[in-house]
């Protein structure tokens, strides 16, 4: 139940006195029995999985198998029909209002549809990821953002290779550039769990390697729990510690990436996969 891989350099950068308060060995994200229906069609059917600090988990599955819906349920963007979600030790089902928001902000999400504000600059969009840390006074307009936050956001943009476009409006960036800015925003949130929905689908191969490398680094060096939806099994093989395979809303594989055999991939992406629904 500990992280699948323990990177040695993690120890260097993390002072012992600031270890997170969550149970050292428990998973940061635990989903049990998650069920979701959309107008009668069962989209998720008893999904159980855990993601631990220090591991990068890849979600694989055919189009429409329920990957985005799973992440949306965790983030509270879709209302599950059943099941429980525990985030950094807090059972989300038992929380309400402000404390639910606080518990949820332990997780940062990179959206498949990006969801940036086109009218604002890349830097402003990234800063918005850190809003939860600001008091109301300094957070009402980008001009009021404290210098720290802006510098942190710049560093996040730099990590995704977009520092040189920081002051451009997001609406003017190319599709792949926007996707990288979205990753930077999630970084700026300083969450302990990062969920990324196809974070590299619009990226060129180098940028994709770079962003996957970054996600790996977040998991292994900074001890976050990272889950990413990927459509390229070879990226999962190179970067992820563990893979979860979804088929028609059920998990059919959950194990080290080494287990992603050709047979398994054939099952996951088989052309007749749709006949269950």
């Amino acid at each position: 139940m500990t992280a699948a891989r323990t990177s040695p350099d993690r120890v260097d950068t993390q002072p012992a006195d600031t270890r997170p308060a969550a149970p050292a060995d428990g998973p940061l994200l635990e989903v049990a029995g998650l069920t979701k229906r959309f107008s009668g069609r069962t989209v998720l059917d008893g999904v159980d999985f855990r993601v631990h600090a220090g591991e990068l988990v890849a979600f694989l599955g055919a189009n429409g198998s329920g990957k985005s819906t799973t992440l949306k349920c965790v983030m509270g963007l879709a209302e599950p029909d059943g099941g429980s979600i525990t985030l950094a030790g807090a059972d989300l089902g038992s929380l309400r209002g402000r404390s639910l928001v606080r518990a949820r902000s332990q997780a940062a999400m990179v959206f498949q549809k990006i969801h940036l504000v086109p009218r604002r600059t890349a830097l402003e969009n990234v800063c918005a990821g850190g809003l939860a840390r600001l008091g109301p006074a300094r957070s009402l307009a980008p001009a009021l953002f404290p210098r720290d936050l802006k510098e942190e956001a710049m560093a996040a943009l730099d990590r995704v290779g977009m520092a040189d476009r920081a002051l451009e409006r997001v609406g003017r960036l190319s599709g792949g550039q926007q996707q990288r800015v979205a990753v930077a925003r999630a970084l700026c949130q300083r969450a302990r769990v990062v969920l990324a929905d196809e974070p590299v689908s619009a990226l060129d191969p180098h940028a994709a390697e770079q962003v996957m490398g970054l996600l790996g680094e977040l998991a292994h060096n900074e001890n976050l729990a990272v889950a990413a939806v990927l459509h390229q099994p070879d990226l999962a093989l190179r970067h992820a510690d563990r893979a979860i395979g979804l088929l028609n809303g059920r998990i059919i594989f959950n194990g080290p990436v080494g287990g992603l055999t050709t047979d398994l991939q054939d099952t996951l992406y088989s052309p007749d996969r749709g006949d269950a629904s």
């Binding site: 402003e124 918005a128 809003l131 009402l140 007749d272």
Partner: protein, 294 residues
């Protein structure tokens, strides 16, 4: 059911004149599946249509709607319009007072719009189901907005006249109240119809409601907001009827007075001045909205 890449046998399509690809290949076809919800949908559509027809029949009846009358009376309308031509462009007597009154009207319209921005914005945020803190506040904000829209301008104007006396100020106050109701509602609805993605993204990042609004909803909604604001400015500039009732003056009063004294050519001049004003406001509005586009 997903049958993957299908290479269907070409179907017999020789009887379709348009049934060929530009490259000369025959076009593949596949029957359209039956839609299980279709009868249901058709039924409810038909039901809605029947309701609409009945309601309209009642309304035509209730208002004595007879388009034929229009044709019959065309001569009378032509005569009325004929009376107004040519407009009376006398500078001292007509045009100068008209321009002066228009300036007053413009100021009243401006203040009636801008001073209501803070209240309208607050109520709009509380009354949009994507930004409201909870159902109770939502319903309360909606009720307040409805109230401001239900009370006629003239009643607000009378209330304020008792406090501040006759003159433009009472008219401005009445417009502010009314405009709060209308603009709040329009803004709330435009926020509800926007793409909520960026707002949801900030919500999941733990941003407070206020922060979500400031950094996602409002920046996304700015073009619509400004458009509606300029629309209301335009309406307020023209809503001089109520202003005349409380002594605010303005171009509406002049139009009414020219009607009262049968000087339709003067009336036309005033209307032309309003038209020019509105076209100018329109152009400025289009300019501002263009500059706001990404």
């Amino acid at each position: 059911m997903n049958t993957g890449l299908n290479t269907l046998p070409d179907q017999p399509t020789g009887h379709h004149p348009a049934g060929r690809h530009p490259t000369g290949q025959q076009v593949r076809r596949l029957p359209v599946p039956a839609d299980p919800a279709r009868t249901l949908r058709r039924g409810s559509l038909a039901g809605a249509a029947v309701v609409l027809v009945v309601v309209h029949a009642l309304a035509f009846e209730g208002t004595g709607f007879q388009p034929a009358l229009l044709a019959e009376g065309a001569e009378g309308m032509a005569r009325f319009i004929g009376d107004a031509f040519p407009p009376d462009l006398d500078w001292e007597e007509v045009l100068k007072p008209s321009l002066e009154a228009t300036l007053v009207t413009l100021w009243i319209g401006l203040l009636g719009t801008t001073v209501s921005i803070p209240t309208a914005l607050l109520l709009a945020v509380l009354a949009a189901n994507t930004t409201t803190p909870n159902r109770l506040v939502y319903q309360a904000a909606r009720a307040v907005l409805s109230f401001f829209r239900a009370v006629p301008d003239i009643v607000f104007a009378l209330i304020f006249v008792t406090a501040v006396g006759l003159g433009p100020f009472a008219g401005v106050l009445a417009l502010i109240c009314h405009n709060t109701g209308v603009m709040g509602k329009l803004w709330a609805e435009s926020m509800e119809e926007m793409d909520h993605g960026p707002q949801e993204a900030l919500r999941t990042a733990g941003a407070s409601r206020l922060q979500q609004v400031a950094h996602a909803t409002l920046p996304m909604a700015i073009p619509q907001f400004v458009g509606l604001l300029l629309y209301r400015f335009d309406v307020n500039v023209r809503s001089s009827l109520v202003l005349g009732l409380v002594g605010a003056g303005g171009i509406g009063l002049l139009i009414n007075q020219s009607i009262k004294s049968f000087q339709f050519d003067e009336m036309l001049t005033h209307i032309i001045v309003v038209l020019v004003l509105i076209i100018v406001v329109d152009q400025v509005s289009a300019l501002i909205r263009r500059r706001l586009a990404v």
